[in-house]
Each structure stands twice: as structure tokens, then as C-alpha cells.
Symmetry: C2
Subunit: 340 residues, 2 copies
């Protein structure tokens, strides 16, 4: 063992404490990859034995600055994402963290660039809802390899096994469709996105299984790939002119549901007497339309809180860096005037 007051190396510390040099290095860098207990033990030993105090001082100095979390969303003006952001900010604030935010604007290149710059800004982790057509994941695996904790929310990365927070899309859709059936609807049309995203598949399956449970053949019901109002207003007249027209619609978001509802109203049909309409989100639009929309509430704020709490847990060593934590936030059916 080296003499006290003689500078020692990481190798010396590793040998003495029977750990690897990598572990010593992580402890001195304050990495969350090792337990707080082990880290403190190594740091105390290093200090007592006069290990290059600059490195310790620097890591201590940096610790304050790096109480920053990076957040990437497709766009701020989407109500759901702004409510997730508000949940993240409130949770982060509780633990003294601030948030750096950026929009991918649905562009893969911008997402990659933001990851790089967040890393350069020394964030202690990144929360991300990925761009709709991101299909390469190097920028994410790169961060994980550099020990930057990563947590996905809403639009999760199916190409990787990572921490994630989602809402129970399946149960949300299932209970909405079950409610429509219980209020007397038998032909419940489905308007949803293409099946690239997990959330689309889950909402479709919820619709499908609720029909099956109640003895309705899903194949007898109208299904359309449609996830915005403009498109809904274009294709709905033809659907409503069918001989066996639907008596209800389940749409994957509020915007689409509002398009269906107004088209039906302008064709002289009564909502909800002739047609019931149910959306998914419960954003500001849902109470601005007339009648107000029955919809599945995605609790964005709670999703944000949970995602931030996983990330902070990892940054502070309470959750091991290599643990894949997955959480599901409950949805809630909000019944209003657009259904019976």
C-alpha cells in the first residue's frame, strides 16, 4: 500500500479496495452505474490517500451544472406533448433539476443532432418521444453506450429494449368501445393510424377485442386508416352513405373524431341520437366542439412525471443504470355529449 501523502493511482485504489479500475473511474466521475455506497467508499479512500484532487474537485464542480435533463418531443404545440412537458418540469423541479428541451419536428436528422448537442451540454439523461419515421437507432444506442440514461415516452422505440412510459392504449380503446356497445351501438367504425407505431396497434387491438367480447364481428365493421380531421372530412361522407352505415365511430385522436362529428352534423345526422363519436386524447379541442366530445383521457402530465422520476432515479443511483424500467399510466374514459 502506498504511503499516505504520496499521490496514488486509480490502479492502487482498485487493488486496495478489490474492485476494477473501471469501477474506480466511475466512482470518481460520480457515475450512477455503481451504487452510492460503493461510490462513496471509493471517493473517501481516494481523498484520504491524496488521489489527484483536481479530478474530484472537477467532478464535484460539474455535478451542480449537470443537474439538467434533456427532453426531445416531436413538437411543442401538440397539446399532449405540452402536457407531458409540464409533468416533466414539475417533477424535475422537485429534485432541483432543470430541463433542456428541443423539438425533432418529426425529422430524423434533427433528432440525431439534438442528441449530440444534449450530450455535449452534459445532460444527466434524456427523455424522448421519437419522430414518427425514425427507424435507425444509432443515436440512441450511442447515448446508452456512453452511460447516458434514456427514457422513452408515448412514441417508444420498438427497435430497442429501453426504459419507457406509455399509457394503457389497449385498455383505453377497449373500455371506450365497450361503453359504445353498452349504450346500444352495434356497428362501430374504427379510424386509426397505420400500424407502424405501437400506440396504433394497441388501440386497434382494444377496439377489436371489445367487439369480439360482445359477439360483434370486427370484420363486419368499417375500418379506415385516417388520423386527422381533414382526411376524416374527406372520407366520411362515403362511409355515412353506406347502406349499412355505422351507428358509432371510435377514432384514435380527438382531431379525427371532430372531423367525423362535423361531417355527420352537416349531413343532417344528429349527434349522438343517430351517430355516437368517441375520440382519444382529451385535449382542449374536446371541450371546444359542439357537442363536447366523449374521449379517452391520456394523462400526459402523469406520463411526464413518471418518465422524469425514472430518469432522476437513474441519474442519482437509486435505479441501476442497466435496469429496464417500464411503466404504464392509466387512461380514463371521459363521457360527454357526443355519445349516448
Amino acid at each position: 500500500m502506498p504511503e499516505k501523502n504520496t499521490p496514488i493511482t486509480m490502479k492502487d485504489i482498485a487493488r486496495e479496495l478489490k474492485v476494477s479500475v473501471a469501477t474506480v473511474s466511475r466512482a470518481l466521475k460520480n457515475s450512477p452505474r455503481i451504487s452510492a455506497k460503493r461510490r462513496d467508499e471509493i471517493r473517501r479512500y481516494a481523498e484520504e490517500h491524496n488521489f489527484s484532487p483536481n479530478i474530484i474537485a472537477e467532478s464535484l464542480r460539474n455535478r451542480r451544472v449537470i443537474k439538467v435533463i434533456g427532453v426531445i418531443v416531436p413538437q411543442f404545440t401538440h397539446f399532449y406533448f405540452s402536457s407531458v412537458l409540464s409533468g416533466i418540469e414539475e417533477e424535475a423541479d422537485k429534485y432541483g433539476y432543470r430541463i433542456l428541451v428541443a423539438q425533432s419536428l418529426e425529422q430524423y436528422d434533427r433528432e440525431v443532432e439534438v442528441c449530440r448537442s444534449f450530450y455535449e451540454n452534459k445532460v444527466c439523461g434524456i427523455l424522448v418521444s421519437q419522430a414518427i419515421n425514425t427507424s435507425k437507432y444509432d443515436h440512441f444506442t450511442d447515448l446508452i453506450n456512453k452511460n447516458v440514461p434514456l427514457v422513452f415516452f408515448d412514441r417508444i422505440c420498438t427497435g430497442m429494449n429501453t426504459c419507457r412510459v406509455v399509457v394503457d392504449d389497449y385498455m383505453g380503446a377497449f373500455s371506450a368501445v365497450e361503453y359504445l356497445i353498452k349504450t346500444g351501438c352495434r356497428h362501430i367504425a374504427y379510424y386509426g393510424s397505420s400500424m407502424n407505431l405501437e400506440i396504433s396497434k394497441n388501440r386497434y387491438n382494444g377496439w377489436h377485442d371489445a367487439l369480439r367480447k360482445h359477439g360483434i364481428d370486427p370484420d363486419s365493421c368499417v375500418k379506415r386508416f385516417c388520423d386527422n380531421r381533414e382526411h376524416a372530412e374527406r372520407i366520411t361522407p362515403e362511409v355515412l352513405n353506406m347502406e349499412d352505415r355505422p351507428d358509432a365511430f371510435f377514432a384514435v385522436n380527438d382531431d379525427t373524431a371532430i372531423g367525423i362529428m362535423y361531417t355527420a352534423k352537416h349531413m343532417g345526422l344528429r349527434i349522438p341520437e343517430d351517430i355516437s363519436v368517441c375520440g382519444f386524447t382529451n385535449g382542449q379541442r374536446a371541450i371546444a366542439c359542439d357537442p363536447m366530445l366523449t374521449t379517452v383521457e391520456q394523462n400526459g402530465k402523469e406520463v411526464g412525471r413518471q418518465a422524469a422520476s425514472i430518469l432522476i432515479g437513474k441519474a442519482e443511483g437509486r435505479i441501476p443504470l442497466d435496469k429496464i424500467e417500464k411503466r404504464v399510466v392509466r387512461t380514463r374514459l371521459v363521457v360527454r355529449g357526443s355519445t349516448k
Copy 2:
């Protein structure tokens, strides 16, 4: 003059270049308080004469980290603020800046705390729309005294003379009310916030002056302090039951306008045949309601871009730190189905 290769002091540099020691210090810290030309001259001289390279290296290293702007808004989920944020982020991204964001949640204490923590995080400036009841400004003057550039947007600080970006609330209101008059309305009610905020005063004055210009006595028209839907739904029945009831309403935001419109519809009045309704914002609600709302568009994205461009100009020395820059972004009347 000290010999080359002998370390020199800031005093030496100041004497040689005929500037104050404070100016040398600012130049070496890359402060935006001095011109880029002067700064480069001092830094070049310091480098050539072997001035403590550590300080220069450190300030250079920090420069990258401090390409961060702090942004404070009352809340993320308010559509207008999320569109301002998106404009800020896009402008900042162009210049390689990232944004730290926080919500005051309309709490003065939280606003103070966020200012402090942004300062600790070494942001190169702060953009802020203040909490509704902030009436002490020490936290803002403190930042200015510490040479942190500050730019207000939307809810500007009337207690201080600072940089600001606002929309032309007066002209927005004026042209909306003039449009109502030109489409035949004579009794145009005003629903607005109390006059604490600049924006309320300006919108009220726009309504007032448009009436006067067209020979209508503002005192003959209904005026109410009301700025949300719930309140509008409570007080509007009485207004619509008046003998000389209004044939139009101008409301300071879309939410209030929608409350007026639905109350009128449910009382059996036709929109716009019996009653015209005009809002202010043009958020997502304005196109979700039925009929769609005529409203004054506040270009939040442009407000965000302009505010960020002033701040970055100051951080990079293109705009002197003590220059009070004020910009006004044009509003635009968007005519839809709620007016004739």
C-alpha cells in the same frame, strides 16, 4: 511593456491597450458587454503575450456549455405559450443554442427561484413572460445588474424599461371591431380582463377607438370583466336577455368567445345571423368549435423568434447589452363562420 514569453497581468494589458482592467476582464470572459471587435483585439493580445492561458482556455471551454438560453413561461399547456416556445426553439437552434425552460405556474416565488437557478446554470440570457401577479421586480433587476440579458414577451414587465416583444394588441382589437361594424353590427359588447396587464388595456382601447371612429358611443355598449369560458357562460344569459341586447361580442381570448357563442346557441339564437362573435388568439379551440371562430391571430411563433433573436444578438455582442430593443409583431384578423 513586459517581455514576450513572460506572463503578464490584466493590468499590463489594460495599460498597453488603453482600456480599463474591467474591460480586459470582460473580454477574457467573453462578455457581450463589449464589442466583438474590442474583445477579439484584447484576447489576441493576451494570447500573444502569454497571458495565463488557463483562464482563456476555461472561458473558451465554457463558451460551448453556455450556449443555452433560459425561458420562463406561466405554463406550457397554454397554446399561445407553446407556440412562442416553438418559435424560440427554432430560432435558437439556427444559431446553435439550446433552451432551458421552466414554468412559473403564475407563482411569483417560483419565478424568482427559476431566475436564480438559470443564473447558476450559466445561461447566456433569459426570455420571460411574467406571472400574472408579479409586482416586485428585484429578481429581474438583479439579473440585469449581473449583465444577464433579459427579454420580455407577451406579458411584459411594466415596472422596468426592458427589451420586449409584443403583438399589436391595439390594432388587432381595432381591426376586429371595425370588421364587425362593417358587417352591420352596431352594439358590440366587450368582454376583457381587468386592466392590470398592458395587453388588456391595449385591446380595450382598440375596441373603444374603433367604435368612436365609426360614430358609436362606447358607453352605450355592454362592457364586462370576463376572460374565461366558465365565467362567460355564467354572465351571458343576462346580457342576451337585455332589451337592447348586443348584436356582436368582442372577447379578449378564444375561450371566452366560445363560452359566449355556445350560450347564445343554447338560448336559441343563431350565429352569426343574430349574434356575431369574435375572439383573440387563434388557438386549436378556434377551429374545433361550431361554427368556427373569427378571431385575431397572435403570431406566437413569430413573437418567440423575435425575442430569441434579440437575446442571441445581445449574447453575441451584435446588440449592445444596454440597448433597450422593443419589437411589435403584427396580428391578423382571421374571418370564419362566427361572424357575418
